[in-house]
């Protein structure tokens, strides 16, 4: 709002200058470009006001203020062409007109080449614009004005030239002649540069920029034609040809203003559309989130939305899954406060209008930031879960290794030892009696117990049958050695990944450990999940935290349901491919 208020004086000044210029022209139509016709008046006002209006429109927008300033200035300069009129009355206005009457074309081309960011990106463009200002303002305007005395030149009606330093009309005329030659050069050069920009913009499908640059190039072309027509004369003059060219210039400048306004309004509409949809989205979030909203606005259903996560710049979607933006033909970064908040990947040519992109980024900034943070949290959660799963897996692997070491090491040794003892006894059987015989018997029995205990120990550390045969034989084996009846129900035929088997088995073990009256176990694959269900007829307390840790490490869930008959159902569910 504050920004808009400061713009009102500029608009008002533009209106006033336009009306004043029209009055000047009407006072002395013969020495003007607009002449006495209504068409001329309309062209004069329409072109100047279009530029001032378009400039004001851009001044109100962050990031485009420079171009806005240049365009507004060009609008004023357009009017100044008529201020060299001898009947203008005011010496100040006359002097301004004398010095700045050719400033419009450099300003317009500067604005268009710098559109929309306000900076001239290429050296050739910087050089061309510098030459244009020097030629148009200095060589054609200010320098001749220093030496041009109206009375010496034969204009007795003219007001005073406030800039006059020395009365050297010939020098002034020579400078103007040079200025016209220069003018033809720089106007052609700028027209060429604008055409290059136009070709680039058209190739990239930037419709709005194309329109703007076409109008700009046409204007510069007409300016060049005016200079070309004035080469013999050596100064700019309002002859019949020049007046027709001037009308064309006016039309081109109106088109420039219209193109700027159209782009601006389109971006604004997109902004309010995005803002509305973002508000809507906040009220009722959709699973597809902002991506769907932006896809709808941009008009590309397959649009990808990636959020940069971490320092490496990896892109993830709202769910935290990795996104490959290079799979789409074009990528656009949404930048806010110098930081890329999101990257859009879309069909070619859709988002080349930087203003539109900026507006979208501005409108969706909070929502984008919000979704990006959520994605970030999801990624971190997933990392955490993966790390938990790795810890559990490392523990399992260690237990498995320990079990195998016991089996292949200690247990084998003990068996070999028992065998050696047996051999010893058979070799000496005739002579071993009394105490020695009893010692041998004791050792034999102890060894047998040790073997049995070691077997139980290693089975408790990790049941090899679980790795070899899966959950079904493992539960079967558990049932064979259990304290309470374990009913082995239907088991899924296709084995899930080992980590899930181990976790599911841990749940069964815990249920069997606390059960007082027996349990029934069955397992199945359903809808992308592996589910193991344990029915227990009593409600002994489980170590649910430990189970949740175990199952949660695989992104699974444990639920305990209390049935009507006083029993419970323990259900562990693991996400698992089909």
């Amino acid at each position: 709002m504050g920004r808009a208020l400061t713009l009102i004086p500029i608009l008002a000044l533009g209106l006033a200058v336009g009306v004043y210029t029209l009055a000047v022209v009407r006072d002395d139509p013969a020495t003007s470009f607009a002449g006495s016709s209504n068409g001329g008046a309309v062209a004069l006002l329409a072109a100047g006001w279009a530029l001032v209006g378009a400039g004001t429109l851009l001044l109100s927008r962050r990031g485009a203020g420079r171009v806005g300033f240049l365009l507004a200035a060009a609008g004023f300069a357009w009017f100044l062409l008529e201020w060299g009129n001898p009947q203008i009355g005011s010496a100040l206005a006359f002097t301004i007109g004398l010095s700045l009457y050719a400033a419009c074309a450099p300003l317009v081309s500067h604005a268009l080449l710098a559109y929309p960011r306000g900076r001239l990106a290429r050296r050739t463009e910087q050089a061309a614009v510098t030459v244009a200002y020097t030629g148009g303002v200095l060589v054609l305007g200010v320098l001749p004005a220093l030496f041009w005395s109206p009375s010496t030149a034969g204009c007795n009606d003219c007001p005073r030239n406030l800039l006059l330093l020395a009365d050297k009309v010939t020098l002034a005329d020579d400078l103007r002649r040079v200025g016209v030659y220069l003018g033809l050069g720089w106007s052609l050069l700028l027209a060429g540069l604008l055409v290059i920009r136009l070709v680039e913009a058209t190739n990239r499908g930037r419709r709005a920029s194309s329109l703007l640059l076409t109008a700009g190039a046409a204007y510069l072309g007409l300016v060049a034609a005016t200079f070309a027509g004035s080469l013999d004369r050596g100064f700019l003059w309002h002859g019949p040809l020049e007046r027709r060219l001037w009308l064309g210039e006016a039309a081109a400048l109106v088109a420039v203003g219209a193109a700027v306004a159209w782009t601006r309004l389109r971006a604004r509409r997109a902004r309010s559309q995005v803002a509305g949809l973002v508000v809507e989205l906040a009220r009722s979030p959709t699973p597809d989130g902002l991506r769907a909203v932006l896809a709808g606005i941009v008009g590309d259903a397959e649009l990808l939305l990636g959020y940069p996560i971490g320092d490496a710049g990896a892109l993830v979607d709202a769910e935290g899954r990795s996104v490959d933006v290079s799979s789409r033909p074009a990528q656009t970064s949404l930048v806010s406060d110098g930081q890329v908040v999101a990257v859009l990947a879309h069909a070619a040519g859709l988002l080349d209008d930087e203003q539109l992109v900026d507006e979208v980024a501005a409108a969706a900034r909070l929502a984008l930031e919000n979704e990006r943070l959520q994605a970030d949290v999801r990624v971190r959660l997933e990392e955490l879960r993966a790390s938990r799963a790795r810890i559990v897996a490392a523990g399992d692997a260690e237990r498995k290794r320990l079990e195998r070491d016991l089996h292949d090491g200690a247990q084998q040794r003990l068996v070999a030892l028992a065998l050696s003892l047996r051999l010893l006894r058979s070799q000496t059987s005739q002579r071993v009696d009394g105490e020695a015989g009893r010692f041998l018997d004791r050792a034999d029995a102890e060894l047998g117990d040790a073997i049995t205990e070691l077997r139980e120990l290693s089975y408790g550390i990790f049941p090899a049958v679980l790795a070899d045969g899966g959950l079904a034989p493992a539960v079967q084996a558990l049932a064979e050695g259990a304290r309470v009846p374990i009913e082995v129900g239907p088991m899924s035929e296709a084995r899930p990944p080992p980590a899930i088997e181990i976790a599911a088995y841990a749940v069964v073990i815990e249920a069997a450990r606390v059960a007082r009256r027996g349990i029934a176990v069955h397992a199945a694959r359903r809808e992308g999940a592996f589910v193991v269900e344990i029915g227990s007829r009593d409600t002994a307390p489980l170590d649910l935290v430990a189970l949740e840790d175990r199952v949660g490490a695989l992104d699974g869930r444990v639920a305990v349901e209390h049935g009507d008959n006083g029993g419970v159902t323990i259900r562990a569910e693991f996400p698992c491919g089909p």
């Binding site: 090899a464 050695g481 027996g518």
Partner: protein
């Protein structure tokens, strides 16, 4: 009787060979892994191969797989798998596919020469052998109300012997009972458990085992 031994532990192979030799078993070769065993069987054509379940390279069930292969390719060669595993799962993998001339004993039986030789002889006669400890676990496992509860102590004894793979004659000798009495016990047991009577010895063993495991 001619036997070969496969175990990755050399000490155990040697000790076992000596014990068996003392008991009158002719040990005609040994091997340290499954491939060596298969070549040895091919060459020596023993009556029975004694195979440790765990052998290189993975030390899981190579012995079991080799035993199954021997039973498939050399039907006249019996196999006795020695295993640390008490779970019936491994034994059933062997017996369900090849009940004839197959045996599964716990590894520590190697020191009970009489048990070992008895098992080898029964395998030689075409029977199947299952370790008594494994069977005892199956018979004794906790159950919800079950027809097993209705068996007499003697009938449970007979049931266990059937599951261990003993024939009626073997059961007679073990329990010092007359063939007629054993036949009556067997008939009662199968009736009470609802297992259809079958004259086929191997089918009877598998039916009883399946019942005990379910």
């Amino acid at each position: 009787m001619r036997a070969v031994i496969a175990d990755d532990e050399a000490l155990l192979r040697e000790g076992l060979a000596r014990l068996l030799a003392d008991a009158g078993v002719d040990v005609v070769g040994d091997a340290g892994n499954a491939d060596g065993l298969l070549r040895l069987v091919e060459r020596a054509r023993p009556d029975v191969a004694i195979v440790d379940i765990k052998m290189p390279p993975t030390h899981t069930d190579e012995g079991l797989i080799a035993a199954q292969e021997i039973r498939s390719t050399h039907p006249e060669v019996g196999v006795l798998v020695l295993s640390h595993y008490l779970e019936s799962h491994y034994a059933m993998r062997l017996l369900e596919e090849h009940p004839q001339r197959s045996g599964y004993l716990l590894k520590e039986r190697v020191k009970d020469v009489s048990v070992l030789v008895d098992a080898l002889e029964r395998i030689g006669e075409g029977e199947c052998v299952l370790d008594p400890t494994i069977v005892a676990r199956l018979v004794g496992r906790p159950r919800e109300q079950s027809p097993l509860d209705e068996l007499t102590a003697r009938e449970r004894e007979v049931l266990a012997l059937i599951a261990e793979g003993h024939s009626n004659d073997g059961i007679c000798r073990k329990l010092f009972l007359s063939p007629k009495t054993v036949e009556t016990h067997v008939r009662h047991i199968l009736l009470k458990l609802g297992i259809g009577e079958t004259q086929d010895y191997h089918r009877r063993v598998l039916a009883v085992l399946a019942y005990l495991r379910s």
